[in-house]
């Protein structure tokens, strides 16, 4: 790439290629932004799909979104927040404790258990959903929030990431020093180990909140009451209705588009603001 003579700006082809990549990856999001400002007429008018036209109806659409069917969308939004926070935070706590335990203690059976955890990364998690459905039915938790939250607590990959991170970021000498000073194991963990693992913890938290927020398969199978749906399942319900023209006279497509925009904004903001942390965290996980 830098073989080109000096007069041509450096990396000109590389930069053009980057621009092309930016365009490709931005197109659907751009379309969503533009479409969310149009009313039903503008959407179906069939020309200029990638540019604003036919007036600015964004706030109107937003109002309709939250008003439709007694504020159904707001309920789904609340459910998504509930599942993502409880599932994501719970998963992070469990994985950080386990990663620290695997990395810093030599107990009998450790290697065997960890081998099982690593092996389970290969098990297709989605094929666990059907037996989990039957089990949840048997213990009467089906179609409750627990059927979504409890399975979300499991993430073998997060444990693997935290083990690698804990091993790389906490020197044994520091733990020994704390123990010699008379600190108990829990105190050592909270005061010495946890602050050192912070970037790793934030990475795992972000990844698990995102994967619970984005989860579709699990809630789709576990829930049948639409009041309990998260956004992903709810919006899919709307698309099915809209495709079969059952929207009750109102065009649902506008609401689906604005709803999609509202659903992706929180996570995009979280990723952008926490960049510094998750990039470092992922780097450690990928190097081993």
């Amino acid at each position: 790439m830098s073989d080109t003579p000096r007069r041509i700006p450096r990396h000109i082809w590389g930069k053009l290629l980057l621009l092309a990549l930016i365009c490709y990856f931005l197109v659907p999001v751009w379309w969503l932004l533009v479409a969310s400002t149009k009313n039903a007429e503008g959407l179906f008018s069939g020309s200029g799909a990638l540019w604003f036209k036919g007036g600015f109806h964004f706030f109107e659409n937003l109002h309709d979104l939250f008003a439709y069917n007694n504020g159904e969308f707001l309920t789904w939004l609340g459910n998504s927040v509930l599942y993502a926070l409880t599932g994501g935070i719970g998963c992070t706590i469990i994985s950080v404790l386990a990663g620290y335990g695997f990395a810093k203690f030599r107990f009998r059976g450790r290697n065997l258990v960890f081998a099982a955890v690593l092996g389970s990364v290969v098990v297709p998690l989605t094929s666990l959903v059907i037996p989990t459905f039957v089990m949840m039915t048997n213990i009467g938790l089906i179609d409750t929030i627990w059927a979504v939250i409890l399975p979300s607590l499991l993430s073998p990959f997060a444990v693997y990431l935290m083990r690698v991170y804990a091993a790389a970021s906490i020197p044994d000498e520091l733990l020994d020093a704390a123990r010699i000073d008379g600190a108990g194991e829990l105190r050592t963990f909270f005061r010495v180990a946890l602050p050192l693992m912070r970037p790793g913890v934030i990475t795992v938290l972000l990844l698990s909140v995102v994967s619970t927020w984005n989860n579709f398969f699990l809630p789709l199978v576990m829930l049948s009451t639409s009041k309990l749906y998260p956004l992903t399942v709810g919006i899919t319900l709307w698309t099915t209705l809209a495709s079969s023209n059952n929207g009750g006279g109102q065009s649902l497509w506008n609401l689906i588009i604005v709803g999609s925009l509202v659903s992706i904004v929180p996570l995009v903001i979280a990723f952008l603001t926490l960049q510094k942390y998750w990039r470092g965290g992922l780097a450690v996980g990928s190097l081993k």
Binding site: L21, F25, S127, K288
Partner: protein, 319 residues
């Protein structure tokens, strides 16, 4: 390649069990054993409840059949025999295998090319590009698929308009013949950025003095990329390929979401996972659905094992 060798495997034997705790000094190892289990205990509970138990239960279910008149009877491997001769399952399996063979190289190629570019070029444009390429990872797969579904759609999307501009028939990317390509694009868009970040992180971890040495010896940027960078990040590439393989064979969300828009192209046996869910939830055939899930799991396991075996040889060529 993906596995880690525990650094303490050798020292394990040296730990003397049941040493009484020296007052004020190091604690005995018996106590440390106990503390280790204490930290992994919550995870272990979740692991047993939501991974080991469902797997065991599915294995059990798959060995029985439930008939209206006969009740539940032991069937041995009958469900598996049925699965591997069921045209619906085999059709779906063939589709995901074919799809994996195309989509995985494509995704990894895009991710690798982007990561190499971002490693080479610095500045504001590169930083912005890195964020945008990663952006789809933060977007739910359901909504990513939905957005592309809109873009493909003749009534909303620009494809129709662009085609009229050039006076050609617009391809409908969700029709029977084109859905393979339609899905290819959605999956690449959704995941390439995530893989790019992993490769990029691995590239950033390489000691740059190696490049300087190569440059002094007269190596071009291209040679450095192909002879140094790519060989040095093979562990990261192998990790990505395994993840992509596991994910793609379980293909579910994208076709499921595009189904209602695609006017019947996505059949209930489009992929093995869709087939299993249809059997379980619509026909309540939990026994056979479990057998299908297990058969799919077996194929995934086999594919990963074959991949590990093949890259093992390749790896030894590099070193």
């Amino acid at each position: 390649m993906v596995s880690i060798t525990p650094p303490t495997a050798l020292s394990d034997g040296a730990v003397v069990p049941d040493t009484p705790a020296a007052p004020g000094g190091r604690r005995g190892s018996a106590r440390r054993h106990w503390v280790g289990w204490f930290f992994i205990f919550p995870f272990l509970v979740v692991f047993l409840a939501f991974l080991v138990a469902p797997l065991a239960y599915a294995a059990y279910l798959s060995l029985y059949t439930k008939g209206l008149a006969t009740g539940t009877t032991f069937a041995g491997i009958d469900n598996y025999k049925r699965a591997f001769t069921d045209p619906s399952f085999l059709h779906g399996l063939w589709f995901v295998l074919k799809f994996s063979l195309v989509v995985i190289p494509l995704q990894v190629f895009v991710a690798l090319a982007a990561a190499l570019l971002l490693d080479e070029i610095v500045g504001r444009l590169a930083r912005f590009a890195r964020l945008i390429i990663f952006l789809p990872y933060a977007i739910p797969v359901v909504l990513g698929s939905l957005m592309w579904g809109f873009l493909y759609s003749p009534s909303f999307g620009p494809i129709e308009q662009i085609s009229t501009l050039f006076n050609v028939q617009a391809p409908f990317l969700l029709s029977q013949g084109n859905i393979f390509y339609g899905l290819l694009n959605v999956v690449t868009w959704q995941w390439a950025g995530y893989y790019m970040i992993i490769i990029y992180a691995a590239l950033q971890g390489i000691d740059t003095s190696i490049y300087e040495a190569a440059r002094t010896d007269g190596a071009s940027s291209k040679q450095i990329a192909f002879r140094i960078k790519i060989p040095m990040i093979t562990p990261a590439l192998a990790l990505i390929l395994v993840f992509a393989l596991i994910g793609t064979l379980q293909f579910f969300v994208e076709p499921k979401v595009l189904g209602p828009i695609a006017n019947g192209t996505v059949t209930p046996d489009f992929t093995p996972n869709i087939y299993a869910v249809t059997l379980a939830l619509q026909y309540a055939q939990f026994n056979y659905a479990s057998a299908i899930s297990f058969s799919l799991g077996f194929v995934v396991f086999l594919a990963v094992a074959i991949f590990m075996f093949v890259t093992r040889k390749r790896g030894s060529l590099f070193t």
